[in-house]
């Protein structure tokens, strides 16, 4: 069972790390604000993106079918997978057909969700993550803690140690430039002899029958241009009507993610390269189910802005969420899919609504989390909380009961030692002081005033 508060306490045990994490993400949030502020039409652009996504999701089958038809006409192979197991099996079959052994991979949240890497590695394939952040995580045997900045939880010294141990860089080397050069050298060799490249898909264009991948490093382009086989895995929600709509999303994505005006590479793959194969795997894995009552969550373009802005995420770290996608959108996805196991994620939220304010496709994240809370409260784990809340409701429903409780509270404050009072709030009062009762009742003061 996911225990967000417990895992967060562990993260906060290292105060230096926690502070650096918080500040780094707040810095990204500020860059996002500056980028958004540079466009007078920003808010209208977000609404437009929301409407396009709503329209596409309402007619998802139609657009997916058009995508397939047009992609096939371009020479792209298209496969469909109901769940993670089918997706992984299709990928393996394609690799086996080509006799591929070594694979270069660029970032894909979907394959992370499907557990593709461990699946392939268990079957003897050599999978190399090529996004620098993901490569660091892979070499460290760690898990990504952010969907855009996978290694945000690590310091440059820690990266240096990982590189020293796995790539033989000089001990103590922690200069980001030198470390990046070392990774580039190592990865270049792997790119040049890879048998297949696996990428995610940021957008699939129904009208043009092509896929679009956005990266800053150019690792997707490099992998796909060299390996004979390119496999792209996409969730069903990635399709948009045409390149015309892409104009809207390419303006929003990088500005929301990192504060850049656009990613360094916005790469269109609309046909296999001469002599090569391009296969797209369209994966459902629970999405069509979600479409029924929480389709808002499928609008997500995985920019990470809701994480960067979230006061809980910044101070608890991505690992504390215990699932592939952390932060507000991750909690909303996970807590609603599995309230019994992930109920604590619904409470990893102050309901401040900061995520809603930055989300480029205007997902009402804090509303989804509030709904998830209701579902979570029904689980047995929250029985004590439920009882306390019921009791509180019972108290405040009657003015006299409220008066008596306040009187009791004042009495306790006078006669009980401070340390007992401080612990009354349980874990809540660990980092907060329990409020002391006011010396006089509000109604008394009002009566006096009104004479």
């Amino acid at each position: 069972m996911i225990d967000h508060a417990g895992a967060a306490a562990e993260f906060l045990g290292d105060r230096t790390r926690a502070k650096r994490h918080d500040e780094a993400l707040w810095f990204v949030r500020q860059k996002r604000d500056a980028a958004a502020g540079s466009l007078p039409e920003w808010e209208a652009l977000r609404s437009h993106a929301q409407r396009i996504k709503e329209h596409t999701l309402a007619h998802l089958g139609y657009y997916l079918e058009r995508f397939e038809t047009n992609a096939r006409a371009n020479g792209i192979e298209v496969y469909w997978a109901r769940d993670a197991a089918e997706c992984n099996a299709i990928v393996e079959r394609l690799l086996a057909e080509e006799g591929a052994r070594s694979i270069v991979k660029s970032k894909s949240m979907l394959t992370e969700e499907c557990g593709l890497n461990p699946y392939l590695e268990a079957r003897g394939y050599e999978v190399t993550d090529t996004d620098l952040g993901e490569r660091i995580i892979q070499l460290a045997g760690d898990r990504p803690s952010h969907i855009v900045l996978p290694a945000i939880h690590l310091s440059k010294e820690e990266v240096g140690t990982v590189f020293h141990e796995t790539m033989g860089t000089p001990e103590g080397l922690s200069d980001p430039e030198a470390l990046t050069r070392a990774a580039r050298r190592d990865l270049r060799g792997r790119f040049l002899c890879a048998d297949a490249a696996i990428t995610g898909v940021n957008f699939a264009l129904a009208e043009e029958g092509g896929i679009v991948v956005c990266t800053n490093e150019g690792n997707a382009d490099l992998g796909c241009a060299i390996a004979p086989l390119h496999i792209a895995c996409m969730g069903i929600e990635k399709v948009i009507p045409s390149a015309r709509e892409l104009g809207v999303f390419t303006r929003l994505l990088a500005r929301s993610a990192t504060g850049q005006a656009i990613t360094a590479y916005t790469s269109h793959f609309h046909a296999p390269r001469p002599g090569g194969r391009l296969a797209v795997v369209i994966v459902d894995n629970g999405r069509s189910e979600r479409l029924r009552n929480e389709s808002e969550l499928l609008r997500c373009i995985r920019c990470g802005a809701c994480m960067n802005t979230c006061p809980v995420y910044r101070r608890s770290g991505g690992h504390s969420y215990g699932s592939v996608t952390p932060g507000p959108v991750g909690s909303a996805l996970r807590a609603s899919a599995d309230p019994a196991d992930a109920g604590s994620l619904a409470f990893a939220c102050t309901l401040c609504g900061s995520c809603d304010a930055v989300c480029p496709v205007r997902i009402p994240l804090h509303e989804r989390l509030r709904i998830a809370r209701e579902a979570a409260l029904a689980a047995p784990t929250y029985a004590p909380k439920r009882r306390i809340l019921k009791l509180a409701a019972w108290v405040v429903r009657d003015p006299r009961r409220l008066e008596w409780t306040a009187w009791l509270w004042r009495l306790a404050d006078r006669i009980l030692p401070g340390w007992i009072l401080e612990r009354l709030g349980g874990p809540w009062s660990r980092e907060r002081t329990f409020p002391r009762p006011a010396p006089r009742r509000f109604s008394e003061m009002m009566e006096e005033r009104n004479g």
Partner: protein, 176 residues
């Protein structure tokens, strides 16, 4: 897997949308001086605009490695060059991106494998935003194409920006 497809689509339904696509209800950003805006955006993306012809830039840089200029005759079987000179179909003022579409005339891999990319851009072909960019491109003729905005970069180690993560570490746009 025909089964998977029909099952997924049965869930979703495939009737064409009765309503039209949502239209923008805003006027996108415009620039009085698109070339200067482009230069600023490109610089922010780690690239550089030089207001001189690409051939002059090349002479000034005087690079050591091999050079391929796809505007002239070249051998498509050649090894990836150190310096690749490309012609951009258009530039985007809001983000410093240029549209590169090889149309399979030269190998796709030259683009990410070159150490330095020089781009010849007609200043008259600078549009304001991505909306105009996609309207101007013949998107149904793309096989592989890429918007390049500055050089390859990463900030995955403690948010420190490093240019040349995988692809070209230098990207200079000159005039045509």
């Amino acid at each position: 897997m025909a089964n998977a497809k029909s099952q997924i689509l049965a869930h979703l339904g495939t009737t064409p949308p009765p309503e039209p696509l949502p239209e923008p209800d805003y006027t996108p950003l415009a620039f009085d001086d698109p070339l200067s805006a482009f230069a600023r955006a490109l610089e922010a993306a780690g690239g550089e605009l030089r207001r001189e012809k690409v051939d002059e830039i090349l002479t000034n840089i005087n690079p050591k490695g091999s050079v391929i200029d796809i505007r002239k005759s070249f051998d498509p079987e050649a090894d990836p060059p150190a310096v690749l000179i490309l012609a951009a179909r258009l530039g985007v003022a809001e983000n410093g991106a240029v549209w590169i579409d090889p149309q399979e005339r030269y190998p796709r891999r030259w683009i990410p494998l070159a150490e330095m990319i020089l781009i010849a851009l007609d200043p008259a072909a600078i549009v304001a935003t991505m909306h105009e960019a996609y309207a101007a491109i013949e998107t149904d003729r793309i096989r592989y194409g890429v918007f390049l905005s500055g050089p390859s970069k990463t900030a995955d180690i403690e948010q420190s920006l490093v240019l040349g993560a995988h692809g070209a570490g230098t990207l200079i746009v000159g005039l045509r």
